[in-house]
């Protein structure tokens, strides 16, 4: 029996039991092959079995474990398994572990039943209910801190507020300007093509002015800021939660809402209207430039026409929405950040949720504003 057989396993009868010859490579690398062979063992064997390790090269723990498991599945546990031919030391360990496993798995796993499913639905409803309460509580905590600011000077975190105004506002100026400029050029271009057919080129000015000031300036800015700062808020606060920094603050008697959430919300409420003004200006500049190049409307004529088309409310109808959008974006972002628990995946998921939800909220709020403004003839 000295030639090496390709198969790692050979079964032959021996006395009133069986003899398993293990040969060839029995290391972890050979496990897939060994596994296939083990599967092929007939499952109706009885009597004793002796495993002969003489021919097994470099026996590994995992293949040995697979062998023991398979033998136990076949039903050799009770009759006993004997190892011969210089078996590896760790078999003793594995046999002990197998006994541990048997004891641990004595409790059968729960099956899915109708009751279980109803229970799941119920749990889901309870979780949703708690979630809704959590959102309201979060609003309440922010409102409380803002209220405290009037009586307690310390609650105003000046340096933090300044940093966030810089990060969410000042650093966003280039991208907001560029996008407002380009979008308004596109709108003016499309408008010019349509209006030129009626010889009503000059109305491009009205189109650009009203579109930019009432809707596009503020909406574009809000969407960009939601993508930039909403995600940043959620991620920053989320990482602090994972690091237990928020717990540390709380343990030192500081309120994370006051330190982390309120400065961000206030900063954005201040920064977003300012960004909107810049976006409005850049949008009008884009419209004027396109009118000059494409429609040959001189800048003086553009501004004169613009003044005519403006009513007193046009500019404010846009700007008044900015703080509301800002509050929505900041609250959604910080709330999602505060929800992060346990894992890096949660952090990624909630950051995504923060951006998607804040953009959705902004557009929803914009629709409500549109209806409101029509109703009150603003």
């Amino acid at each position: 029996m000295h030639e090496v057989v390709a198969a790692p396993l050979m079964l032959e009868p021996e006395g009133d039991g069986w003899r398993l010859l293990l040969n060839g490579d029995w290391s972890l690398a050979a496990l897939p092959r060994i596994e296939a062979q083990l599967k092929g063992l007939p499952s109706n064997l009885s009597g004793k079995v002796s495993c002969d390790w003489t021919q097994a090269a470099a026996p590994g723990i995992s293949p040995a474990w697979a062998l023991l498991q398979r033998l136990a599945d076949i039903g050799f546990r009770d009759t006993g398994v004997v190892h011969t031919g210089n078996p590896p030391d760790f078999l003793q360990l594995l046999e002990r572990l197998q006994a541990d496993r048997h004891a641990a798995l004595a409790v059968p796993p729960a099956h899915q039943t109708l009751e279980g499913l109803v229970g799941k639905l119920g749990r889901w409803a309870v979780v949703q209910g708690r979630h809704a309460r959590g959102v309201i509580a979060f609003f309440g905590r922010i409102a409380k801190v803002i209220g405290e600011m009037f009586s307690r000077r310390q609650a105003v975190r000046g340096s933090s507020l300044g940093r966030h105004i810089y990060e969410t506002g000042v650093t966003a100026i280039p991208i907001v300007s560029l996008i407002a400029f380009l979008i308004s050029v596109i709108v003016a271009y499309l408008g010019a093509q349509q209006l030129a057919r009626f010889g009503a080129d000059i109305f491009v000015v009205d189109l650009v002015t009203i579109a930019v000031l009432r809707e596009m300036g503020v909406l574009l800015t809000a969407v960009i800021v939601a993508g930039r700062s909403g995600s940043a808020f959620a991620a920053e606060i989320g990482v602090m939660r994972l690091n237990e920094e928020t717990d540390a603050l709380r343990a030192m008697g500081m309120n994370p809402i006051e330190l982390l959430v309120v400065p961000r919300v206030l900063a954005l409420v201040i920064a977003l209207p300012l960004l909107t003004v810049i976006a409005d200006a850049m949008g009008l500049a884009g419209g004027a430039l396109l009118s000059l190049i494409n429609l040959h409307i001189p800048v003086q004529e553009f501004t004169a026409r613009m003044r005519e088309s403006l009513s007193t409310t046009t500019f404010w109808a846009g700007l008044i929405k900015a703080p509301v959008f800002a509050a929505l974006i900041a609250i959604v972002g910080t709330y999602r950040g505060m929800q992060v628990r346990d894992s890096a995946r949660e952090l990624g998921r909630l950051t995504t949720v923060a951006v998607v939800q804040s953009i959705f909220m902004v557009i929803l709020a914009d629709a409500l504003f549109a209806v409101l403004f029509v109703q009150i003839h603003f």
Binding site: L28, I61, S62, F90, L97, D342, S343, R345
Partner: protein, 264 residues
């Protein structure tokens, strides 16, 4: 363990590491032989973790050579590197379990990467490794965030053992554990060491662990390593080493070991 040949498992020669102007290692030598449990100690900031990272190839040293099983780690072809990586297991200070995977999936991760195994087999191997480190099979379904500190250390060890390494690197395996869990971890380590014939390199601050488990110790002082048996260290007159091994805590740990004769 007499059958081992003379090539040390790890041989570090003249290792030099610096961050900017701050020199961490300068001419550090270290040798670990087959079957040893080698403890690495040193003050905070002495460069224990940097040494570990250099040996593992996670950081390219600024000078010197690192040999594992006689081959220079730095000049290895990427295919040989990948084979080499499979011969050792590592646990990191905070477990470094992938937080989005369950414990069982963490253990299966290296197995999945390197071998084509069936799901049933992977489950069974996850179970094996969990049992081996003293966890329950049911713990496999939990996420790392649901585990206690001691369980995280064990789960990390289970993942390190998944590829059946012959060499194990442990970065502060008992840090942050209560004394009972730490002692249990020491027992587990000694048991696995004898059963699986492992060579272990362990960074530790835990004097109990050091006295109980380590057969040799390397101390990083003044950017170099002084290594020897625990008795050698107790006799060493270098000020830091003397303070380390003759402080109140060291004496207590020493006394305990002497009484128990655990490591005879």
């Amino acid at each position: 363990m007499q059958d081992a040949d003379d090539t040390p498992v790890i041989r570090v020669r003249g290792l030099r590491n610096h961050f900017g102007t701050q020199v961490v290692h300068d001419g550090l030598d270290m040798e670990v032989h087959q079957g040893e449990i080698f403890g690495v100690v040193g003050g905070s900031g002495a460069g224990k973790s940097v040494l570990l990272h250099s040996i593992l190839g996670l950081r390219r040293p600024d000078g010197g050579t690192v040999e594992l099983y006689g081959s220079d780690v730095e000049h290895l072809a990427s295919k040989d590197r990948s084979t080499l990586v499979q011969t050792y297991g590592v646990t990191f200070q905070n477990g470094a379990l992938i937080s989005s995977l369950t414990v069982a999936q963490n253990i299966q991760l290296p197995l999945r990467e390197h071998y084509a195994l069936s799901e049933k087999n992977l489950d069974s191997l996850a179970e094996l490794n969990l049992l081996m480190v003293g966890l329950q099979p049911a713990d496999g379904a939990k996420f790392p965030s649901q585990l206690s500190g001691g369980m995280i250390k064990r789960a990390a060890l289970a993942r390190a053992l998944a590829l059946e390494p012959k060499l194990l690197f442990l970065d502060e395996p008992t840090a942050g554990l209560d004394p009972i869990s730490a002692a249990a971890f020491d027992e587990l380590l000694l048991y696995l060491h004898s059963q699986l014939r492992l060579t272990v390199v362990m960074i530790t601050h835990d004097l109990d662990t050091l006295f109980k488990t380590c057969s040799r110790v390397g101390v990083i002082v003044e950017k170099r390593m002084i290594s020897g048996s625990l008795e050698d260290m107790l006799r060493n007159i270098q000020p830091w080493i003397h303070d380390y091994f003759h402080g109140a805590r060291a004496r207590a740990a020493e006394r305990e070991t002497a009484e128990g004769e655990v490591h005879g």
